[in-house]
Subunit: 152 residues, 2 copies
């Protein structure tokens, strides 16, 4: 098993995180990996880093960033005041895909959410990713909901 | 058209908000409307109220709370550092359903999200609510994603 570590992302990780986000058919159209990174990326990092209910994380193998995910801890009134952990922007470097690292990232994410008192974790994934659906079901998720999005 | 107002929820609105959340087949099983409200509800309200990226809102008609929704403003690296507005826990008092107030609540929510710089709004809804799906599509949402949830 590869000896990976997890830690909170630092500003210096941002170019690699954007590269990971862009290395995907959808992400390739959406991201701009040119350096220096454009100002909105820097501003987004600062906003995440300043928010105690956000955790942008990276996965490290031999001092290299090989994965990323973002957790949002959401307090809510419903379900008797339950906190939810929301998982977004999960990416693994191409050469590490299929090695079980995804499962370890989610197990780590669940631990972080439990430590923050969340009783539920949630995510949405594009309908066109059946292999992702199987992966999430194996992790114990139920596809009980539809995810609606709208550009503003 | 009913002359409704929107405002940020106050602690004194909490019992009505919980009653609205409970007035629903799913909510009835999940919530506890007994007074005084249990401590987790109070703690959740405080956590939401203290977080600048949360907005728990109420809809007012003639000084009465007749609806509620929660917005979460989520900074992210993906999509070139885009902010997202997430909408949860939307409820309208039974006697006001079917009057167009839902549409006005969403239009108000979109404005709040735009004012916070969000380029996207998102929500999930139970697969078993086809009438909600039509409503969201009429508002311009696309059901592009599946929503996965898992209890911790």
């Amino acid at each position: 098993m590869i000896d990976i570590q997890f830690r909170r992302a630092q500003a210096s990780d941002l170019p690699v995180i954007v590269t990971l986000l862009a290395d995907d058919p959808l992400g390739a159209r959406r991201e701009d990996t040119s350096l220096p990174l454009s100002q909105p990326y820097q501003a987004a990092f600062s906003a995440i880093d300043a928010d105690p209910n956000q955790m942008l994380a990276v996965v490290i193998d031999r001092e290299q960033v090989i994965g990323t995910l973002q957790l949002t801890f959401i307090p809510g009134i419903s379900r008797r005041g339950a906190w939810r952990g929301q998982i977004e922007a999960v990416r693994i470097a191409r050469e590490y895909r299929g090695t079980g690292i995804g499962t370890r990232m989610f197990e780590w994410a669940f631990e972080q959410c439990r430590a923050r008192g969340c009783s539920l974790v949630q995510l949405t994934t594009d309908k066109e990713r059946p292999e992702a659906h199987r992966f999430y079901e194996e992790l114990g998720f139920t596809a009980s909901h539809l995810g609606f999005k709208k550009a503003l």
